[in-house]
């Protein structure tokens, strides 16, 4: 399963990560799994500063992923 990253997260570990079979996993579980492999992004990913999206809709940490879904993590945004 693909996880996409943006901004400082993409700079730190790349824009895309294959986390293997993740059907039924919650967003929280995937956050922990990714942080374990990439501790550099712990501060942004673990304290919920990075919002999670599936199919362009924001999802909460207890959301469980289905087959074929792509999870996206968006760090804090800044326009203007």
């Amino acid at each position: 399963m693909k996880v996409l990253f943006y901004g400082r997260l993409a700079e730190a570990i790349g824009p895309e990560l294959d986390v293997g079979e993740s059907r039924g996993c919650s967003v929280a579980e995937l956050r922990e799994r990714i942080v374990a492999e990439h501790p550099r992004i712990e501060q942004v990913l673990r304290n919920n500063r990075a919002l999670s999206f599936v199919g362009e809709r924001q999802v909460r940490d207890d959301y469980r992923l289905s087959a074929g879904e792509t999870l996206e993590f968006l760090p804090p945004v800044s326009g203007g």
């Binding site: 943006y6 901004g7 400082r8 993409a10 700079e11 999206f53 362009e56 996206e72 968006l74 760090p75 804090p76 945004v77 800044s78 326009g79 203007g80």
Partner: protein, 152 residues
């Protein structure tokens, strides 16, 4: 009522956007616009060469449209116009244009102010400052968040 909200990959020309907004404002009594420039100095006083704005292929445009639409609903304006740069922006270049037209001036002033407070904190961009002291990611300041809170 009309809403223009989009990203711009190439140079943003505020004078053209303002002219387009004025042209739409037939019958209105006011046009207010704001142009944001890429600042050439960092918070620490170091020279900034450019800003790099990453964006999301779908959510960025959605966020601009939602903010513009909210402004159009909230204030008595007839036109809302938001253009936001993405990609590399050299210091001194325009990064954002936010404008509104209305029958009376107060609504247009307030709408432009509201647009910028929302854009600073909610528009889906990731902004990196590149300058003489390297590269660093920029996030909204406490002041930006306080400004946003003024609108509830």
């Amino acid at each position: 009522m009309s809403i223009v909200a989009r990203t711009e990959k190439r140079a943003l020309r505020p004078e053209q956007e303002l002219a387009a907004l004025i042209e739409r404002a037939t019958g209105d009594g006011a046009v207010v616009s704001f142009t944001g420039l890429a600042r050439g100095v960092s918070k620490k006083g170091h020279a900034v060469h450019r800003l790099v704005l990453d964006h999301h292929p779908v959510l960025t445009l959605q966020s601009l449209q939602a903010i513009a639409s909210d402004a159009a609903t909230r204030f008595e304006v007839s036109h809302v116009h938001v253009i936001h740069r993405c990609g590399e922006i050299e210091a001194g270049e325009p990064i954002v244009f936010a404008g509104a037209a209305s029958l009376h001036r107060r609504a247009a002033f307030e709408a432009a102010d509201y647009l910028m407070d929302r854009l600073k904190t909610e528009a889906v961009f990731w902004k990196r400052e590149v300058g003489e002291d390297g590269s660093r990611w920029i996030e909204p300041t406490d002041t930006d968040h306080a400004d946003r809170q003024r609108w509830g």
